[in-house]
């Protein structure tokens, strides 16, 4: 059960990060998801990414909607405040939270039902507003908690466990995010930790709307023949276009790469995104070619993964609104209340 805390005892030799924390300090309670669930791998990747980045756990706010994926924030970062909100409405709650305090790191975790069906509107609008967040969709193409109905990301023609064929077109949230102006868009696979962890790190350090669509097979309802979200299917159709290294200022590493095979993006906070190209003709600095590439490969049955697009000079909603640098939740009467003199002036203008 979710209230069963994990024992905090750990091996004395577990490595510590720059803050002196071990990976265990980024964990949560024991997962109640099915054994083998892709979502648990994503939780592990989040823990790994936060540990590697040496983020202070309490400076993360983790928010989710409703569904299997939305239960996962309980299973990582138990020193963070969490908010399991309303089905499909995590983006608005996260947006509000971000407006209140721009200094925290916002991690939104959602699923394909939560974001592509009931929450498609809020997903879209949080992207176009450029909310500074890491928005992860744990995408399995199926409703888990309600036992096996298709979700809106299920591919047309794919089969449910009971043999029903999905006749509706599937929604590609990464393509939507690209079209809607997200400034960091990636896709990955829960079974590829090596690819996923750096993408989460890149998203967490990105100063704008970062979206990661993580294909995450559902072992209970969508891991069969005829599914396009099964472990086997994704492994056989995964076309990774690049590998990302996130290099924070403090820990510069040097490596030699053949010319033209590496793309580097310096972010606002000084961190460096180094992309090793796996597909020579993939350019993650162009929104339009990213969309075109992903869709043309999809037409051939391939799932493109990797960092699909990143905008180096990305800004966020606070920048658009022109809000002060200080968190709004720290402001008091002095900054907020103009006082009786201003009111008297206002009254005088209304006589």
């Amino acid at each position: 059960m979710t209230y069963l805390a994990k024992p905090k005892l750990h091996h004395p030799d577990l490595p510590a990060n720059a803050l002196g924390f071990t990976r265990r300090d980024y964990e949560g309670t024991i997962s109640t998801l099915c054994a083998g669930c892709g979502h648990d791998s994503i939780s592990a990747a989040i823990i790994q990414a936060c540990w590697e980045l040496a983020i202070q756990p309490h400076r993360v706010a983790k928010l989710s909607g409703i569904g299997c994926s939305s239960k996962t924030p309980t299973y990582f970062l138990d020193k963070s405040h969490g908010f399991n909100s309303v089905h499909g409405r995590m983006p608005s709650v996260l947006t509000g939270a971000n407006l209140a305090n721009r200094d925290l790191i916002y991690l939104g975790v959602s699923g394909d039902g939560d974001s592509a069906s009931i929450g498609l509107g809020q997903f879209a609008h949080s992207m176009r507003r450029g909310v500074n967040m890491t928005y992860i969709v744990e995408n399995n193409g199926v409703y888990g908690l309600t036992k096996g109905q298709f979700s809106a990301t299920a591919d047309r023609g794919s089969k449910s466990k009971r043999g029903a064929v999905n006749t509706d077109e599937g929604i590609d949230l990464a393509i939507l995010a690209l079209q809607l102006g997200a400034t960091f868009v990636a896709r990955s696979f829960s079974g590829d930790k090596e690819q996923l962890v750096p993408l989460i790190k890149g998203a967490l350090t990105h100063p704008g709307a970062a979206f990661i669509d993580v294909v995450s097979p559902c072992v209970a309802f969508n891991n069969h023949e005829g599914s396009t979200r099964s472990y086997d299917y994704v492994r056989n159709h995964n076309e990774a276009v690049n590998r990302l290294d996130v290099i924070t200022v403090h820990r510069e590493i040097t490596a030699e790469y053949p010319p033209g095979s590496v793309q580097e993006v310096r972010q606002h906070d000084g961190s460096l995104l180094r992309l090793r190209k796996l597909s020579e003709d993939y350019d993650s600095s162009s929104r339009i070619s990213a969309m075109s590439y992903v869709q043309s490969r999809y037409a051939h049955g391939e799932i493109v993964t990797g960092l699909l697009y990143v905008e180096p000079g990305a800004g966020d909603l606070h920048e658009s609104l022109g809000t002060v640098d200080r968190p709004l939740n720290e402001l008091g009467e002095k900054e907020l209340c103009p006082g009786s003199a201003a009111l008297a002036k206002f009254n005088a203008s209304l006589r």
């Binding site: 059960m1 979710t2 209230y3 202070q56 756990p57 309490h58 706010a61 928010l63 309980t74 138990d78 020193k79 963070s80 405040h81 969490g82 908010f83 399991n84 909100s85 309303v86 409405r89 983006p91 608005s92 709650v93 996260l94 947006t95 509000g96 939270a97 971000n98 407006l99 209140a100 305090n101 200094d103 925290l104 509107g121 809020q122 879209a124 609008h125 507003r129 909603l317 609104l321 022109g322 809000t323 002060v324 640098d325 709004l328 939740n329 402001l331 008091g332 009467e333 907020l336 209340c337 103009p338 006082g339 009786s340 201003a342 009111l343 008297a344 206002f346 009254n347 209304l350 006589r351």
Partner: protein
Amino acid sequence: MVKRIEAVNDFVVKFANVNGSGSASANTLFAKAIMRMGVPVSPRNIFPSNIQGLPTWYEVRVSERGWLGRRGGADLMVAMNPQTWEKDVVEIEPGGYLFYDSTKPLPADKFRSDVTVLGMPLTAICNATYSDARQRQLFKNIIYVGALTALLDVDVAEVERLIGEQYKGKEKLLEPNLKALHMGRDYALEHLPCPLGITVRRTDKVGDRIFIEGNNAVALGALYGGATVCAWYPITPSSSVAEAFSKHCSKLRVDPATGKLNVAIVQAEDELASIGMVIGAAWNGARAFTCTSGPGVSLMTEFIGLAYFAEIPAVIVNVQRAGPSTGMPTRTQQADILSCAYASHGDTKHVLLFPEDAKEAFQLTADALDLADRLQTPVFVMTDLDIGMNERLCDPLEWDDSRTYDRGKVLSREDLEAGQRFGRYLDVDDDGITYRTYPGTHPKRGSFFTRGTSRDRYARYTEEGSAYVDNMQRLVRKFATAKLYVPEPVLTDSPRTAHYGVIYYGSTACAMDEALAELEAEGIPIDALRVRAFPFQDSVIEFVNAHDHVFVVEQNRDGQLRTLLVNEGAIDPARASSVVHYDGTPITARFIRRAIEERLSAFNVRPMRRTAAAGE
């Protein structure tokens, strides 16, 4: 021949216009000029859900006695809209006056014999003076205002001053407006029987009162109350709350050092997102509000249930309009009382505040931000279109500079460091209100998981029935605690012993003041209680029980506040009956008085003395 109406500082002028014709600013000018003469006026917009071409009316009640409610009927009709001519002419009181554009002759059967007809060839005058079509339209409005100054003895110098203020810095526009004003005035003085039987006489009954729309006051209340996040979705009649808030913030919330804003205002994609943002912001320690109307609240209800159960502050301004969602969005009602009091799924109850006018709306909006933080729950500020979208005379807005924001029970980093025990839903003070922490406060202590699902006192997920009941009972205690914080009802005791009482709230107040005075003058003593909040204090229930019978006067069909009283208070339902008005127009003193008289005569109550009936 009906005697023509004779009255000084006590009449109603109604303007019938076409919307989009620029009449609104001219009509406001007229109302304000009378106010500047020290005579109380109360104007009301009656407008369609449309931008251009449909009928719109502007009613100005002039009342030296200071009655600000709608009176009903019109003593002078300024009939500028041929589409509504028939209806407008019918509405004139016998002996009243009809002012119209006489450019095109109308057959005699279009007029009434019992009203004084005042024709002025406005179109002809404009066509002769102006060549530009838009100018012909706009100046026509100023020209009729000029004529009215002569007809009603309004001091033209006041209108001139107002035009001067309006076009300060735009002197090019000033001269032509003044010229049009005098053109109208001179024509009337020469050709019409000036002054009419109804006139304005300078007096000093306005005092230091201000003339303000409720939505503007709400916006300022939110600003003074320390709201830093506003998320909203356009819906009539509430949109101007957010627009006014933005406008005020662009002046009053600018950080002097950087020029950046101490506020974040987001026009959301819908009401679901608006309330979601408010809840997210408040969860994270900012004061946040949204403004909407009934249909918006309907859309927000799932989130409102979450906020109630997860105990997150939220301020929701509901500028009520006639329901349902479409049809009468530009008409007023108080029909969301029950839908707000019990909004959402499961067992919920919410705090409601009922301001009577703009002044109180300012105050209660600021208070709502304190209350929401104190009680950690959604708080509704229940205004309506009548308060929100009409300029109304009210006392100047006040702010006590020594006032500090009540942020409620929040544990700081220091509190947590000092080892204060923290259970998010642990009732340590026995008032039902528990302590909370903002995200990011302390590296090791004070984090918790917020959820709509059930949990124990330490915010740990549980499906135990006993933990659920424990929590729900605490929420009941918290709601009882709310009674100590919400504004007290206002009692108006009849000077004589009254066996009957009346309960009312919100925008009904201005009509009720007048109705009570009329009833008193007729020798019918009534005690009155203006309810300002839900949950009801014990004094509200005691008021019902202390009278033989109580009339609950409200602007909805089903007597929603009465239902709430019966449901929440230990009262005998037979002791309270509803007096309801819900056709979308603001309730009038005439309506209230007649309804109460009828009920009382059915109870066989006779006036103790009869004086010359007031207001007849």
